[in-house]
């Protein structure tokens, strides 16, 4: 495998020094411009795959919710950064998957939770009650199998979480 050296910075480089490196377009040579899958057909096939995997997703969501409960209970006891980090990683993944499978509220709640945990000012400790509010909202979406953007109440809950997080991040 050919290793290519990192372009060096001249010792006398000024602050504005920069080098532009043009590369041969290897991918264009490897990708034939015709004969592949018709994109629209591929998108339909991909949609069908997502549909097929939705029941697997629901099972996975159930496992994630259970794991979330375990970590939240542990966090209430030990209040440790490590447990909070595990909870963050779990919810970050849930956030990434939710909207893909028709549960955008899981994604939205997860997004607010992740913002709160990672972006809060260092001087502010995490409030366990606010963590719990996010988890409760996740529970409601899961238990009631709320797909799409939900009803007015669901929206109000998510918006309220967003507002509280915004205040905490200020």
């Amino acid at each position: 495998m050919a290793r290519e050296k990192l372009p060096e910075i001249p010792a006398d480089a000024s602050k504005s020094w920069h080098a532009v490196i043009d590369r041969p377009n290897d991918l264009s040579r490897k990708v034939l411009k015709s004969g592949g899958v018709e994109p629209e057909k591929a998108f339909l096939a991909a949609d069908a795959i997502v549909k097929q995997m939705t029941s697997e997703y629901i099972d996975k969501l159930a496992e994630d919710i259970q794991q979330m409960n375990v970590l939240a209970a542990k966090y209430r006891k030990d209040n440790s950064e490590e447990t909070l980090d595990r909870l963050f990683r779990l919810i970050h993944n849930m956030r990434g998957q939710g909207a893909t499978f028709g549960f955008p509220l899981i994604t939205e709640i997860g997004r607010h939770f992740c913002r709160y945990v990672r972006e809060r000012p260092k001087r502010k400790a995490v409030k366990p009650a606010l963590v719990d509010q996010h988890l409760k909202a996740m529970h409601v979406v899961y238990n009631q199998s709320i797909k799409g953007s939900g009803d007015e109440i669901s929206q109000a809950v998510v918006n309220a979480l967003a507002e509280v997080v915004d205040r905490e991040l200020a």
């Binding site: 504005s16 990708v31 998108f43 990683r89």
Partner: protein, 170 residues
Amino acid sequence: MSKNYDFKNLRVLVVDDCKFMRGILERMLQALGLGYIRVASDGISAWELLCTEDFDLIITDWEMEPEDGASLVRRIRLDPDSPARYIPVVMLTGYTEKAKVMNARDIGITEFLAKPLAARSLHARIMNIVDNPRPFVRTASFFGPCRRRLNLPSFEGADRRASELDAVEI
């Protein structure tokens, strides 16, 4: 009219800590006609694969343990022993915050794709990489695909690189 490019010769490395997401991504890529797909669960495993096999494209998640996607991209671009310094990297992540997008650009990713995962946007990113490769740029503080989003032959306007070395250019 859509282009039915033939991606069967492309060799792709998918990096995600979530087995479920790796699975769906792999199946979506197959639906789009990609012929060779390997998977890794974090940056360290991905690096090991990169050292033993040639790939044309990496699609990586951000949040992973023990090595995350950002660290993997930094290593690919800057490590003296990098086996694939110029490889295109798509950062596929649950993060949607502007600061994260900027951060991803600054570490040298090629394309940013926010979850939810959709075949159409994945296809668009791959097409863009094939059709509009960007030159690489080396400055005192950056090495990676040119951060100016438009691949213009000449840039008309103030040379911000001269005055704002660390400016993000999109």
